[in-house]
Symmetry: C2
Subunit: 247 residues, 2 copies
């Protein structure tokens, strides 16, 4: 059987998230439906991880097993012709039969966009978080560096996700940059707890607002206390940028 | 009576364009309705010019006369609280009573976005024109320079707009730049004929495709023949960026 790995861009706005849910078409169920229309096969499309309702992806990765003999470079075209325009398959490659998008994932990169402008943007209203109050960008730059490395992120997760044994994760790169009124927070790591990017981003914003001191971040991380971290920012500012594998 | 000039960002996607039309809320009618809700006055909001269905604006300018005594810096907040989130008032200033957004306009800048990628973008599907075929960017750079200056743009207009006496316009700046797979065409001028930006952009794209020779542009301009210019590109890649006045 062939194992196909696909890279997907999607606009999370009108979906209940990645995962199939009763009664509402999810991103996963749209892709499974497209595969069925193209191949006649009912497959299970496995993503690198779920994304919540409203969260976007520039490079989500998923895989599925199939007996179709469609050429690999025709697969994106075939699936895109059946998918809504809010979901686009950007690449397809053939991988080893045992490859698994979630288990084999080495690193993921997420981006959170904050628009620090007096008025919200009409065009970007479903694509970024609007913060009208003045932010201390230098403090935010200082704060984000404390998240790099291996930490127990127990205080930076929401309950409700799948309960994993350990809450220790490694962030290999944490960066922040500014372009005009927009601030881009980017986190790369070997794994992310439920809502972790939105809570870290909320903490960085709270540092910008002066509600949290940048240099208290190590203490807050150590405490493991959710109430000491910042707010969970809304999903629509979040993007899954890319997923990396060794293979 | 006070004369208020406002700067507006809007997402053109779900509107029939700027101008009020029977039975469908236009951008103009949404703003007039918001003003009525705030002031109780039925005003006529005059824009620098109309935009078509699907066309976006980052900085449309309009003005209206009012007797309201709301402070000028409160006006954007008051109107935004009544407007759909796809229309945002970003600025309001008090201007002389005889100021007119259309008659006093000196320069306008439009941007057209072409995504020259193999697959369309899911996130930008209503915000750019997707062109999957390889474009010769250097030829496009050469072509755009021929549009700068004063020309008779008779061959670069669609019928159906308001029939103006002269079709001579001056483009003070024509530029093109590339960022990743995206190409940004930007035109600044003292006036634009109906669909002029979309036809010039279509001509530049046809140059990129090798359908039109860059160095034939002066000849095509001189001919005044619509059939020699390129296609009218779709509205959703077009943005009214800014409008300039002397005052």
């Amino acid at each position: 059987m062939r194992n196909i790995r696909i890279t997907i861009e999607y606009d999370g706005k009108n979906f209940p998230g990645w995962q199939s849910q009763p009664g509402k078409m999810s991103i996963q169920s749209e892709i499974q439906k497209a595969i069925f229309e193209v191949t006649g096969e009912e497959v299970d499309v496995i993503a690198s991880g779920r994304t919540d309702a409203g969260v976007h992806a520039l490079g989500q990765v998923a895989n599925f097993h199939t007996n179709t003999n469609i050429e690999i470079n025709k697969i994106p075209y075939a699936l895109n012709s059946k998918l809504p325009k809010s979901i686009v398959i950007k690449d397809a490659v053939e991988v080893e039969e045992r490859f698994h998008s979630r288990y084999n994932c080495k690193l993921k990169t997420y981006r959170y966009i904050v628009n620090n402008s007096e008025f919200p943007s009409a065009l970007e209203r479903y694509r970024e978080f609007h913060m009208p109050y003045k932010l201390d960008y230098e403090a935010m730059e200082r704060a984000i560096k404390y998240f790099e490395g291996e930490h127990d992120f127990k205080g930076f997760k929401s309950s409700g996700g799948s309960e994993k044994k350990t809450t220790v994760r490694t962030l290999t790169k944490c960066s922040i940059r500014k372009e005009g009124t927009r601030i881009y927070i980017e986190l790369t790591g070997n794994g992310f707890l439920y809502n972790m990017v939105r809570i870290i981003s909320g903490t960085i914003v709270d540092v910008g607002l002066g509600k949290i001191n940048a240099d208290d971040i190590p203490e807050i991380l150590k405490s493991g206390d959710r109430t000491k971290a910042g707010k969970t920012l809304p999903p629509h500012g979040l993007y899954l940028v890319s997923v990396n594998y060794d293979c």
